[in-house]
Amino acid sequence: MKRLSFILLFLICSYISAQNEITPELVNDLKQQIKQSESLEKLELLDSLCWITRDKPEFKYDSIVKATVNFAIELDSFNIANRQAARLIWSLTNRMGKPEEGKAYYEEFEALQLPVTDDALLARFYLNGGDSYYFSGDVEKSINVYDIASKHAIQSKDSILYGISKKYIADAYARLGNLVEASRMLQEVEELYINTKDTIRLVNTKSSRADLYSMNGFFVEAKIERDEAIALSKSAKYYSGLLSALYNAAIDNSKEGNHKERIKNLKQALQYARGSELEDQYVPQLLNKLLTSYSQVDSLDKATEILKDIQSDPDRYTKGLFEDMHVQGLAYYYLAKKDYPKALRHAKQYYESQAASNSFENTMGAHELLFNIYEAQNDNDKALYHYKEFTKANDSILSLKKTQALSYYQTLYETEKRDAKIASQESEITILDAKNKVKQQWMLFGGIGLLTIFLIIYLTRTRAFARNKQKLLERFSQNLINEQEKERKRISMELHDSVGQKLMLLTKKTKEKNDDAMESLAEGTLEELRSISRGLHPAVLNRFGFGKAVNALVDELDNNSDILFTLDMQNVDDLISKEASIHLYRIIQESLNNILKHSKAKAVSIDIERKGEQIMTKIEDNGQGFNVSDAFGKVTSLGMKTLKERAKIIRSQLYIDSIVDRGTIVNITTPINV
């Protein structure tokens, strides 16, 4: 059964291609067969019926399709349903001039949301749906639908469908007066065709852009696009594109008033049109346009030549679609020949047909033509009327163009301004970011640097200050000790010179009185004075030098204690200055006094000897010792402090080594000649 239907289908197709004629008998045959068949076979036959009855209202094409679609949906053949629905929408909109019906069917079918899997089918379906909106005047809605189509085109990876969708969107934008968006869409499509090397579609797109520009009075831009389209179509031998481009260029020339260029383009188009498969379509138009053009530039000879050409085959060149054009050409021709009644007759005919067809621009052209004729006839009233009509129409077109141009440039300017602003902002942001980064780094490093510098300065200053303070303190205490020494010496001398002398005299006198009590009192007083002044300043040191003074010191202490003193001393008197010797003497004195007071030692030895460039003084006892750090640590240990200060004055090193219950050793190392 299935095979049979295939054979039948094949027969039908071959019949169609052979006869190119669908007869009601054939349709009835097929309908008959459909009634007898079922399910998929029936669907295939229905599909065929749709195919052969397409765009034919006499076979009720629309109801056939609707029945087929419903049956396909029943059989879950959604792709077939979709394809046929799309075809019907296109037919209603583009063929039968019923876009409203197309739109209604689109909406009805679209609402079903069938699970169609073929994206190319869907793209076509939405393209046709978009058309139905576009031609119904719902242009904005059409853009949305075309956009859905373009998305399905992308899904199906069909660049042609994608290009078409975008092109339609561009047309819709153009119709809405959004030239910028329209132009942008067309550019996008052009890029697509450049990438897919689709020259033919590229030429068409370029022509569309040229039309868009021309429509809005941008003839310079239009010419650029047209020239490119002409060059491309020539190289690709795409004559249909070439002729269309040349013809439209001539129309642009006419609008600009550039007759020379117009004639050149028309002649070139004529040359390509003759002998081509588009000859019938283009040659009549081109000849009639040339007639008008030559007449307008008063080239009567050439106009007459063209007219002869036209009149050689009036059926071919002056009838049907070309009649209006021919009438217009004749009007201009007779005007040029100054045959005004004939010119007027043709012009009126032309005006009436254009006015009837609501062709605004052509009506305006007819007014201009009539004005020229009446003016030539000196019929001023009529001339003025047509002139006014012409001017009114022209002004409205101009103002529309102006508005559109203004909005175009405004949009373009704003877009560019926005782009430039964004770009400059971005670059500014980049620069600012970089600057900020550098600034932040500088600030960070600078901050750390400054902090480090301050810290270093602070530490150095603190250290220097502390060192200075210590030095000052040292110098102060050393000065204090020196001054103290001087003062002691002075007091000692004073005591000797005043109280001492008088006390000696007094003692001497008492001895003459033979009063023992008074004598011993006087002697005791004098003795105390001697002891005090010796304590203040050792006279022996001054008179006999360091060695003798140490001897006297040790002798005196020896006499006043039970400790065994062992003095072993080299003569170092010449190795040490007087000023220094008092300090070394004092150190020894203080050390020995400490031993006497605190150590509980049984023996003390004092060794003073020269070793190289140094005088080594060692005072050793076998007493109970003490904790050295404690003694030095105590702030109250003035004796120890003074010892250290004195050692510093004479640039000596003082070491105290003490072991508890074993004894103490004081070592003083003094450079000679200090």
Binding site: K511, A539, R543, V554, D555, S561, S605
Partner: protein, 217 residues
């Protein structure tokens, strides 16, 4: 005595005017022949060299030149003048210095006029005279040998006393808490000062012999 007094020409020097005047008054009122007074060392030297006195009583501490310096310079000029030092200082070093320069007379300023007269007399008789303060009563009447004990230090005396009690060096060292070497050092010093022979047991024998005297030190 009185002749000697009158014969003896004397120069006195002291930078302290009150003492100088006191001394002058005492000496002249007692018939001494004071031919010159000086209040500084330089002036004293000048008087000694020009007046060539028999005696010069000099304070040790004086401006410009001290008594030791005056003495040395005068001796360099070969003066025959005998010197008596008068001093505030009692330190042994002064005595030792005087002895070292061979000045045999040393008085303390508070010594009585009686002592001064005795000193002058001794000096004129070419005898030494030191202030009674320096005379050890215990040794005053002993032999010369024992007189040397006064040169010992207190520590040396303490060791000598132990030796006199027949303590060995080791025993002494252990007792005091020092090395035997230290004790031996002291023993050597004592032997030197007393002028004993250096043979081994001399000091021990001598100490035992003079046990009583040493015990009184």
């Amino acid at each position: 005595m009185s002749d000697m007094k009158k014969e003896a020409s004397i120069v006195i020097a002291d930078d302290h005017p009150m003492l100088l005047k006191g001394l002058y008054d005492e000496l002249t009122s007692n018939g001494y022949n004071i031919i010159g007074q000086a209040d500084n060392g330089m002036r004293a030297l000048e008087l000694i060299l020009t007046l060539k006195p028999k005696l010069a009583l000099l304070d040790i501490e004086m401006p410009l030149l001290n008594a030791f310096e005056v003495f040395k310079m005068a001796r360099e000029k070969r003066t025959e003048t005998k010197f008596i030092l008068l001093s505030y200082h009692k330190e042994k070093e002064y005595i030792l210095q005087a002895r070292a320069l061979n000045i045999g007379a040393y008085l303390l300023k508070e010594d009585s006029f009686f002592t001064i007269e005795k000193c002058i007399e001794s000096v004129l008789n070419n005898e030494e005279f030191f202030s009674p303060y320096f005379q050890d009563s215990a040794l005053s009447n002993t032999k010369d040998e024992l007189k040397q004990l006064s040169h010992l230090t207190a520590s040396e005396v303490s060791i000598l006393k132990r030796i006199a009690l027949n303590q060995s060096s080791k025993a002494i060292a252990d007792d005091i808490g020092v090395s035997i070497r230290t004790i031996d050092k002291h023993r050597a010093n004592i032997i030197n000062k007393l002028g004993l022979s250096k043979s081994t047991n001399t000091l021990t024998s001598w100490a035992l012999l003079n046990k009583d005297i040493i015990g009184e030190l």
